[in-house]
C-alpha cells in the first residue's frame, strides 16, 4: 500500500507518514498541493493521499479539486488531515471530493480507525 502525505509542516508530515509506515504503508511526502500533483504526475500512484487544508502555493481544497478533475486519479482515496474543524469546512471538503476528514489534533488510533472504515488497512494489520 502506498500513501502520499501533503502538509506544509515538515513535522506534521513526519508524524502522519510515521503512523502510516507503522501500519505498513510505503510513503512519500510533499510540502503543498502543487508538489503533491507533481508526485502524481511523475507516475507514482498511491492508494491514499493525506492532505492538509491550509498550505502555501496550492491548498488542500484546490488539490482535491485538481485530482478529482483527472479521471485517471478518481479512484484514489483522499483524506483531509487539518485543523479546520467547522462543520461547513468538512462539508466543503467532502463536496470537493475528499473521502474522509481527520481533525487535528489526532491520535494514531484515529488515523487507523479512519483507514479501517475506508478499507485501507493493510491485511496483516487488519487481522
Amino acid at each position: 500500500m502506498r500513501a502520499l502525505v501533503i502538509d506544509d509542516s515538515r513535522v506534521m508530515r513526519r508524524i502522519v507518514a510515521g503512523i502510516l509506515e507503522d501500519l505498513g504503508y510505503e510513503t512519500r511526502q510533499a510540502g503543498h498541493g502543487r508538489e503533491g500533483l507533481d508526485v502524481l504526475d511523475g507516475g507514482w500512484t498511491p492508494n491514499l493521499v493525506c492532505v492538509d487544508w491550509n498550505m502555501p502555493v496550492m491548498d488542500g481544497l484546490q488539490f482535491v479539486s485538481a485530482v478529482r478533475s483527472q479521471p485517471a486519479l478518481r479512484a484514489m482515496t483522499i483524506m483531509m488531515v487539518t485543523s479546520e474543524s467547522e462543520h461547513t469546512q468538512i462539508v466543503r471538503a467532502l463536496a470537493a471530493g475528499a473521502h474522509e476528514y481527520v481533525i487535528k489534533p489526532f491520535t494514531a488510533d484515529a488515523i487507523r480507525d479512519k483507514l479501517a472504515l475506508l478499507g485501507l488497512l493493510p491485511e496483516e494489520v487488519a487481522l
Partner: protein
C-alpha cells in the same frame, strides 16, 4: 397609541455598540483555550502530558508562534515559550522520528504546528465564517486593546507556556474608540 416615538436624545451610541466588532473575551474564555491546548498536547506531545494552569517566569529567550484569524473577530492566537522549551516540544512531537540534532526549521515547524492546531480549534469556537492564516514564528504580533485579549498562563513540565488570543492592533473594539463621525454624510 402605538405610534413609534423618536427618542429626541438618541445619540446613535446603541447602534454603534451593536455594530462594533466583538472582543475576544465575549467569545471565548480562558478555560476553553486551556481545554483546546490540553487536547492538542495530549494528542501531539504525548498522552501523559499535562498543562498546569499556573503562571511561570517569563523566559528571557522567548519564541512565539501564531496564526491569524480573520473574520467577525480579527486577531491572532499566539503561543510563547522559552527556546529550550520549544526544542523539547519539537522532540516530543517528532518522537522516534526526531533527528539526533534538531535544526531551527524543526523547532520552528513544531511550534508553528502547535499554533496551527490550537488556533484552528479556537477559530472553530468563534463566530464565522473566519479564515485561518498560515503559522508564523518570531516576535509576536503587536497586541491590540487589552480588553480584546484572552491570556492563559500554563506550565508544561514546569516550564512556562503562554497562550493568548489577542485582537489585531488598530481594530476598533470599544465603541468609544470608533470615530462618531465616520458614517456621517455632510449635509
Amino acid at each position: 397609541m402605538t405610534d413609534s416615538v423618536i427618542d429626541p436624545v438618541d445619540t446613535g451610541e446603541r447602534r454603534r455598540r451593536a455594530d462594533a466588532a466583538p472582543v475576544i473575551t465575549d467569545l471565548i474564555d480562558e478555560a476553553t483555550i486551556q481545554s483546546i491546548a490540553e487536547e492538542a498536547w495530549q494528542a501531539l506531545v504525548g498522552e501523559e502530558e499535562f498543562l498546569v494552569p499556573l503562571p511561570g517566569d517569563a523566559p528571557d529567550d522567548a519564541v512565539s508562534s501564531w496564526v491569524e484569524i480573520v473574520g467577525p473577530w480579527n486577531g491572532a492566537v499566539v503561543l510563547t515559550v522559552a527556546r529550550s522549551t520549544a526544542e523539547e516540544l519539537a522532540r516530543c512531537l517528532l518522537k522516534e522520528h526526531a533527528p539526533p540534532v534538531l535544526d531551527d526549521e524543526d523547532v520552528e515547524d513544531a511550534m508553528g504546528e502547535l499554533a496551527n492546531v490550537v488556533g484552528g480549534n479556537v477559530k472553530a469556537v468563534l463566530p464565522g465564517p473566519s479564515v485561518l492564516g498560515l503559522p508564523e514564528i518570531g516576535a509576536a504580533p503587536a497586541a491590540g486593546s487589552p480588553a480584546d485579549t484572552c491570556r492563559v498562563d500554563l506550565l508544561w513540565r514546569g516550564q512556562t507556556l503562554t497562550i493568548t488570543a489577542r485582537g489585531a492592533a488598530g481594530a476598533p473594539h470599544d465603541p468609544s474608540e470608533l470615530d462618531p463621525h465616520e458614517n456621517e454624510v455632510p449635509l
